[in-house]
Symmetry: C2
Subunit: 265 residues, 2 copies
């Protein structure tokens, strides 16, 4: 039997920080007919709140250390304010959105990050086995549209801050067992550019060897690396299609499949 | 066909503000075998956060006016921090909890409160028709345990702060169509007391006439009035059993039905 199509769509900070652009995006997302899942990152709201509350943010090697106070902040901002406002807007656009953290329904379990000399605190790592895909399938069968914040749990009562690109990737991987999944990483560029200063230098397809070449030629900026790592993990784990696209071009991609950079093995 | 039993259990601020007591309660809640729904209030966390952020809280006639900044705070605290921590703890106790605001799955719609000379801002009122009980029934059939914060929505993109006692009451009312519902309001007293200074003066049953007598004799404190109003609304709308109990006596009530004050028409 042919598998049903499913979109897993990730949006990030720059979109979330711009209410007008976010609502334009959500209206387009709501118009997608096929089953779909949205995963959102955080944006600057959490850092702004931490600053207002005089909670210092410790960065190690460019990554945020999540102590208990910072975990409370990201739980409030990501799983509370951002997630519920996105869900309410999608409901306004007649999309039956339902907002989740990984703790809800035990949908995404994670393990505290320990494979590092640095203690990142309440940071959890996920893999495809972390996803309760049976329950997700049931929820999709009820025509619900899951909206995930990147807060997960260890099923021992702890919440963990998790990379949203990784959450999108493991959801896509796990659901590929039952669906033909297309994973779309939406951001503010047209895709991977051969020359980061030239928006017309879009690379239409990228395989792992070409990726390593770009990397050694220092043509990739730091911000794109977690997305690419998770994109390759997805294609290596049976996700049918993985594309990095401009968040303003979602409808074009869905209808014509002609946007962004497609990732291949 | 006999209807299946369902518990709708409401907990409030004093319990939520005490992590140790809250976890004791959640372990007992998790042990209830029958289908169940938890509704939680807010506690002092939202006011504390508002104070830290220098957002002044406007009270009119003892009720909080919810401006946009205050709505953001209650959404973060109630739907984010409190809801997700409760869900994570219940998952730790092997209870498949799933946290919701009313926007999620369009589960509880509300209307902006306008029947007042005061503009309470983003405050929504609910009635039994507000509840998407078909979807709730499907979720209960998946053996999920819904955990509601008292944030609702108008399906036009707005979130509303809502009275948690009212949310519990309308959920119980709506679900009585398909379940034999027992609604338990848990708080830090043994029930309604004839003498508020004497914890042994418990009133075991209370009907509407007796309630009005207590009211005119000024034997009821202000805090209990929304609970009682919503408790009577529930019994008037086919909820099988409504009891106000001490939050420490949940298991006794479930097993022996001998705690608190039962509300009758």
């Amino acid at each position: 039997m042919e598998k049903q199509k499913l979109y897993v769509i990730k949006i990030g900070g720059s979109l979330i920080d711009n209410e007008g652009k976010l609502n334009e995006f959500l209206e387009k997302f709501a118009s997608i007919k096929a089953p779909k899942i949205l995963v959102h990152g955080g944006g600057k709201l959490a850092s702004n709140l931490a600053t207002k509350l005089n909670i210092s943010q410790q960065m190690v090697e460019g990554r945020r250390v999540t102590d208990k106070e910072t975990l409370d902040i990201v739980t409030m901002v990501y799983a509370g304010k951002i997630n519920k406002n996105i869900v309410a807007q999608l409901q306004n656009f007649d999309c039956n959105a339902i907002g989740f953290s990984g703790a809800d329904g035990n949908l995404i379990k994670s393990k505290k990050r320990t494979n590092s000399e640095i203690d990142f605190g309440f940071v959890g790592d996920v893999e495809k086995e972390s996803v309760n895909q049976n329950l997700l399938k049931e929820l999709l069968n009820l025509n619900l549209v899951p909206v995930f914040s990147a807060i997960t749990h260890d099923k021992k009562g702890n919440l963990f801050n998790t990379n949203a690109d990784s959450v999108a990737s493991v959801l896509a991987q796990a659901l590929s067992q039952n669906f033909e999944v297309e994973l779309l990483y939406c951001f503010d560029k047209n895709g991977i550019l051969d020359d980061i200063n030239n928006p017309d230098s879009l690379i239409k397809t990228l395989n792992k060897i070409e990726y390593l070449e770009l990397l050694s030629a220092k043509k990739l900026n730091e911000g794109i690396l977690p997305k690419l790592k998770n994109a390759f993990l997805a294609v290596e784990n049976n996700v049918k299609k993985v594309v990095l696209i401009n968040e303003t071009k979602l409808v074009n991609q869905i209808n014509h499949q002609n946007e962004g950079t497609e990732i291949y093995l």
